[in-house]
């Protein structure tokens, strides 16, 4: 394919371009189910796409009328995102790690897709999850993508999916309650979204 498509810039290495196009479109649909469809452009929800990468999800969420921050630790990636940012100012990008992002406002929802299982160092993973949770306002939602597993599972030497229980226990201490896991249900993928709400 010669025309770059914003949704093709990310996904799963085991799928081809068109596979990832379908995969990402489906994931956006699943995410809208989780985040709700009540976007109001004149009073938008404030969302965080933590580990935005190429910004495909940030831009997609912004296109539904939300105000979305995308953060990533890679400067070049963030610069590329800024180069593709929307004219209406609904997507905003910053260079930051997941465990250090601390804006002066809270988010209605924080989303992290295809990032946490890339953090192999446990302490950094934990600090990242806790920090993202701290950014969610009362009644707001935290959506973390990972495999829905009973035990931690390493993928080669560089990726680790954590057991769902670890997320639940870690976030309960932060005032967030586990709601459900939403599987992608795409081909053979057994990953999906863990959904948490802030109740305290």
């Amino acid at each position: 394919m010669t025309t770059p498509d914003p949704w093709l810039a990310a996904g799963d290495l085991s799928y081809d371009d068109m596979g990832n196009l379908a995969f990402n479109a489906l994931r956006i649909g699943r995410l809208l189910d989780v985040l709700g469809t009540l976007a109001e452009p004149v009073a938008p929800l404030r969302l965080l796409d933590a580990g935005c990468g190429t910004g495909w999800l940030t831009r997609a969420l912004a296109s539904f009328g939300h105000q979305v921050d995308g953060i990533d630790s890679a400067t070049a990636t963030v610069e590329a995102c800024r180069g593709q940012s929307r004219a209406d100012g609904r997507d905003h990008y910053a260079v930051s790690r997941l465990d250090t992002w601390a804006p002066s406002y809270l988010y209605d929802a924080v989303v992290s897709v295809d990032v946490l299982f890339l953090i192999s160092q446990d302490s950094l993973w934990e600090a990242s999850v806790v920090n993202l949770a701290s950014l969610v306002r009362s009644g707001g939602r935290l959506v973390l993508a990972d495999h829905n597993l009973a035990q931690d599972h390493p993928w080669g030497g560089r990726q680790v999916s954590r057991a769902r229980r670890r997320y639940v226990d870690l976030l309960a201490a932060e005032g967030l309650v586990y709601r459900r896991s939403v599987p992608y249900e795409f081909r053979d993928s057994d990953a999906g979204f863990h959904v948490f709400d802030r109740i305290a």
Partner: protein, 279 residues
């Protein structure tokens, strides 16, 4: 959000809809819902009912909010105002007097004018905030005072930060205003410069036109002179031909010889008489 959606979210299971100051189109009323219009005074709201109230945002707002509603009734205030200009204090005061607690606020879609819906419930207790993202998918829950502590904490800190952020944004706006002024002045200067250049171009255009006219006149003159010269040349050629023809004629030759002979005779005569009157 459509008014219809708000009704569905907040009316009780067996509740009725009471319209105040508004008459919904039938399509906006969820099917099967009992509706009581303005003037149906004989049917007071009961717990589970929903009052849909179109109210002004002016000082008369309080008069539109019933103060004797039974616990468990919900009120959806429809306020015709831009959401950024919602008079927060006035709305909260009107609801507080009626012991109504805000449970949701939304921008209404599908209305001709900008409208904000403020949803409140009549309660004597605290109603904990519900999850508001896709919250019809799961029931809300909370951990008693903990959620209140969190909300109060957010209220305090966000209140402080929002003031600062607003101040920072206003400073940015002011800075942009100054920059805009500078750019406007530069643009005006460019415009004046351009007008000056345009005037110069116009002058040059006039000068060019004058020069063109002069050049054309000169060309015309040159053309006339050329024609005149051609005429004279033709005349001279004709004369030359005539002369050539004349010189070639026998008469001319004879006359010429005679004239030559006459000269010789005169010279002979002059020498003979030493006549030298003219030299």
């Amino acid at each position: 959000m459509l008014i219809r959606e708000l009704i569905i979210r907040h009316v009780g299971t067996d509740g009725a809809l009471h319209e105040r100051g508004i008459r919904l189109d039938q399509a906006q009323v969820p099917p099967g819902l009992r509706v009581h219009h303005d003037g149906d005074e004989a049917i007071p709201p009961v717990s589970g009912d929903l009052l849909l109230v179109a109210a002004p945002v002016g000082t008369g707002l309080r008069e539109h909010v019933d103060t004797d509603l039974p616990v468990g009734t919900a009120v959806v205030l429809l306020l015709e105002v831009e959401v950024a200009e919602l008079p927060v204090g006035r709305v909260l005061a009107a609801l507080a007097v009626a012991r109504l607690q805000v449970v949701e606020a939304a921008v209404v879609s599908g209305t001709p004018a900008a409208t904000v819906a403020v949803v409140a419930t009549r309660t004597d207790d605290l109603v904990a905030p519900q999850p508001y993202l896709a919250h019809d998918l799961e029931p809300g829950d909370h951990e008693g005072p903990a959620v209140l502590r969190r909300v109060l904490g957010e209220h305090t800190l966000e209140g402080l930060v929002q003031r600062a952020r607003e101040r920072a944004l206003l400073a940015q706006v002011a800075e942009i205003g100054v920059r805009l002024g500078q750019v406007t002045a530069e643009r005006e200067q460019f415009r004046a410069d351009r007008q000056g250049l345009e005037a110069t171009v116009r002058d040059l255009e006039v000068a060019r036109r004058d020069a063109d006219a002069e050049r054309k006149a000169m060309m015309s003159l040159v053309e006339d002179l050329r024609k005149e010269a051609d005429g004279a040349r033709k005349e001279a050629d004709a004369e030359r031909k005539r002369m050539k023809s004349l010189r070639g004629s026998t008469s001319f030759k004879v006359a010429s010889r005679l004239a030559g002979m006459s000269g010789t005779a005169r010279r002979i005569i002059r020498r003979a008489g030493h006549w030298n009157a003219r030299r």
